[in-house]
Subunit: 317 residues, 2 copies
């Protein structure tokens, strides 16, 4: 995890900033986005963007979290470059949980061989040491903009700094010393077997329900869907155990998966993600936490998975 | 809210119980359900169960939260008894948010008249005074089994006791003095206009994504779907603003909505909900918070919307 850039802990800093906020009606999330400047956005690099085309032509766009699970992500890039994903299928749709795609063959021996260079047993890139900020007291860890303690955004990604655990009931609470990406709606992970190091990246899933945070720290999260998740989340639910399709005819074919960097330059989809180390993002989170208009009672807080980080198509010159 | 039964604060009591827990491998959630006795379940009364039949014959079953929003729920019962819902449609499917059904007519004047006796402007049954338990200190409010402070189950329903708010940064945090039902996946609410008291129950919605907790305390939650939500959550997403279907032909017809009490006795579906004021429920929550087997790192906590309260078809004699 040495490559992870620890941006300022935007969410944790909000308590201080809030105290200086004027009492005027807060802006709406849309107004904050509207007022954002070009510097408030970062592009998704073409080698970090996957384009998955389903059998019916619908497309799903996926940003890879290169810095958080580098070995898994590099495997996925190799699988995409080898066109290994072409012709696999969506095999599992479990309501309020996940959509999963991969080689549909049930027996290991019947599966497509993996391309050369794939790390067969990647390290457990499931969590990383939480920044040991001495000023991060328990109270500061309880962000007023989050329903959960120590949830935040790091470098544009939702991170769980750890649920509060009772360590010593007479002394107080302890914050879990590791952090991990959070299984928010639309996050993408690498399926694995019972042994922790068995997920190569050939089997992927995305969350289509309430964040199943019991999976955090237990499996490698490698990215998120930035557009087109509705083509997966609206698929018929599987009726077999764990939502697997019982009839092979129900499987949804995947025509191709390509890195945007492999597409001709004029055909590359271009997306921008709102940066999370900015004053604009702080204002956006505050706006999400303090909704106005139709709302009669603003929450004063927002779950890390309800921040709904703004992601948009980039204007093409 | 005088009818609300405040069951023991099961979740909040877990910290104490946990300290006495033996160190043995905790049971799985399935094992706790398996070991539950008949007394650990309560039936859903026929006058509290709605059966919604879609145009294709698929059925969705809905339990009403009579004690939390009694005026709204009584309106819904009257609408069902008058067969008012028959022939309306699902008009809105917004990804990671809600499915909404009601009279599809866009102009108020074109809508079906409501049956007699409907309270046109129900009170704002959006929240209720939080039990002022003097032993509920801030630290106890942080349940080790929840990612959110002061979330709990009351009488079988998920309740948000309030996000922690910074009241005075030098003194500590304050707990919101009101509580409300939580917008977990599958919870059902009453659509309303811009004015708070404009939701009669003729327009209903259910959550099909990550709990949109900014809606808590802002709108009346009246129940939850106990079976068949996949018939709604897998519908094609609407492409109009807020996920409304743009083409009337996309609307999904609702054939009928009936109270189970209006069906012939032999045809009434029968469900049981796990009681939440029991040792069994406490063990179930602990099992959800401390998953074993495939998991390498149990969370030690579970979000109130990830408890997944067990609900089952009752064995018919």
């Amino acid at each position: 995890m040495k490559k992870v850039v620890l941006a300022p802990l935007a969410l944790l800093a909000i308590a201080a900033a809030q105290a200086q906020e004027p009492a005027a009606t807060p802006p709406t999330p849309a107004e904050v986005i509207e007022a954002a400047s070009a510097e408030d956005w970062r592009p998704i690099a073409p080698e970090t963007l996957l384009v998955m085309t389903l059998g019916d032509g619908a497309q799903v766009f996926l940003e890879l979290a290169s810095d958080f699970a580098p070995v898994h992500v590099e495997n996925i890039r190799k699988l995409a470059r080898a066109h290994w994903y072409d012709g696999i299928s969506v095999n599992r749709v479990q309501d309020n949980y996940v959509v999963q795609w991969g080689d549909p063959a049930e027996e290991e021996a019947d599966r497509k061989p993996l391309p050369e260079g794939i790390v067969a047993q990647p390290p457990a890139e499931y969590s990383f040491a939480f920044p040991q900020n001495p000023s991060l007291s328990v109270r500061q860890g309880i962000s007023p903009t989050s329903y959960a303690a120590a949830d935040l955004y790091i470098d544009g990604w939702p991170v769980g700094g750890g649920a509060l655990r009772i360590s010593d009931r007479d002394v107080g609470v302890a914050i879990e010393p590791t952090a991990s990406l959070v299984h928010c709606y639309g996050m993408v992970g690498v399926g694995r077997g019972d042994n922790p190091d068995t997920g190569t990246g050939a089997e992927l899933y995305t969350v289509i329900g309430h964040a199943p945070r019991h999976l955090d720290r237990n499996i490698a999260l490698v990215g998120r869907i930035v557009e087109g998740i509705e083509h997966l989340s609206s698929l018929p639910r599987g009726t077999g155990p764990l939502g697997f399709y019982e009839d092979p005819a129900q499987r949804v074919p995947i025509e191709s998966v390509r890195l945007a960097s492999e597409l001709p330059e004029g055909e590359r989809p271009q997306f921008e993600v709102m940066r999370t180390d900015t004053e604009t993002f702080r204002r956006y989170v505050m706006a999400r936490a303090n909704r106005t208009g139709w709302f009669v009672r603003p929450a004063g807080a927002v779950d890390v998975c309800n921040v709904n980080l703004p992601i948009r198509r980039a204007a093409v010159d």
